[in-house]
Amino acid sequence: MRRSFPVEDLARDDRFVRVPMAVRLQDGRQVPREGPGSRRNGGRLTPDRPDSPDAARLLMHGIFMGEVQALEGAGRTCWDFDTTGEPGTADSDTPDVPFQLKLDMARQCWDEARHTEISCKLTAHMGTELGEFAEATFLYEAACNPDPVLRLTGVNRALEGLAIDVFNTMREFGQVSRDPVLEFCEDWMLADEVTHVKMGSDWLRRLTEKDPERRERALEFQRVVDRLFSLGGFRGEDDDSPVRLARRFRELAGFQSEEIDELADVAREARHEAEDQTRQNRAAARAAQPTS
């Protein structure tokens, strides 16, 4: 079985359609932040938003696809690296990882498989068909880093950290819309995500204990992934961020307050960058329009 499986080769049936990030970034349309055309109550997912059931459906489908990719990513990490000290497994092309790390990843696979099933049922509960919305694959792409430390930092601290924020948002939506199924399912999955983030933090510390340079590279990779996962301000601490940083749960997962502050700054920068990009796209689209 080959190592470092490319994202293009992930198995999907014909219900699923992928939209590359580059295509999404070409969109010249923009949601105004205030005034006519802006979202009611900012972008936050609350039942008094007329479109909140559909917004929750879209987010839930994104969670489902994320769980599938998280399972694929953790599964790859069990396979892609050699195990330290095990005779007959050494492969000079790949770095070694402790056997215990693989066990953690195997446990995470178990969690992600359960989350995939739960998300599948929640998607149906919310009236959505699997594949109804397009799939974004950047979650799995973060799980393709050839360095296991960078991979775990990007996936378990950045991606699973995003999962904490998203699950907490959905759990709150379940609470206020009096949907016990959504609330409980999200609460249980949220507890697992806290564990996954903590695994990432622990392995980052242990594997880079004597290698500060590698630790810094891993943290830099995490910042890059965090910026990407801020989705142009979709996740952040502004009043109108649809998904808010879940500070309390992040602290439980081992994040320092300063790290969360830094993440809020990264999200704000990502938002401004996305707005600039949209302005450029719009100008380009207008410039391409034939003059009459």
Partner: protein, 191 residues
Amino acid sequence: MASAGTSVGGVTVLPESFTLVDYDAGAIAEVAARLWEKIGLPAELPLRIEVDETTPLGRAYVLAVKPAVELAVESGAFEHLHQPRQFDPERTADVLGRLLFRLHDRLDPAFGDPPPDTELPLPASTAWDVYAIGRLSRLGFVVQRPRRHYQFRVRHGFSDHVDAIFAQLWEAEGLDWTTLQALSDEAASAA
């Protein structure tokens, strides 16, 4: 000078051409004209649809009823869910069908006198949508019953009785506003 728009029958769509999305005003007008006829709206009443292509959101609402019906639609409402910025005729029929059935009710004296859309409470508005989309499905258009069911539950609660009222609204014909509102109130109090 403002564009005159693209017209099919009594339906006019603005803008005539799009720059930020790959939509065809004529295709939008054709979907609307087909719905207009099937729903049984008066042929002499003109319809004007203004699409705001600057936003990816998907809101759609009635701006005016007379002397011409005017609808305002954000571009995301007509967009294909798998192909960014591409037109989806099925979603368009779902969005416009909901609005036009509600318009049909407003023009029917037997329906009663519902408050303007801007003053409708969300639960009652959602109940009215269920009634509209149920009828749209019986005209042969593609609709998403589970999606409408979830929307109804979010507004009214998650219980068997709420589900029974949803089914009643979905299957209904010839409701008036008073009955519709009473069913919505009953569902909200049953959860």
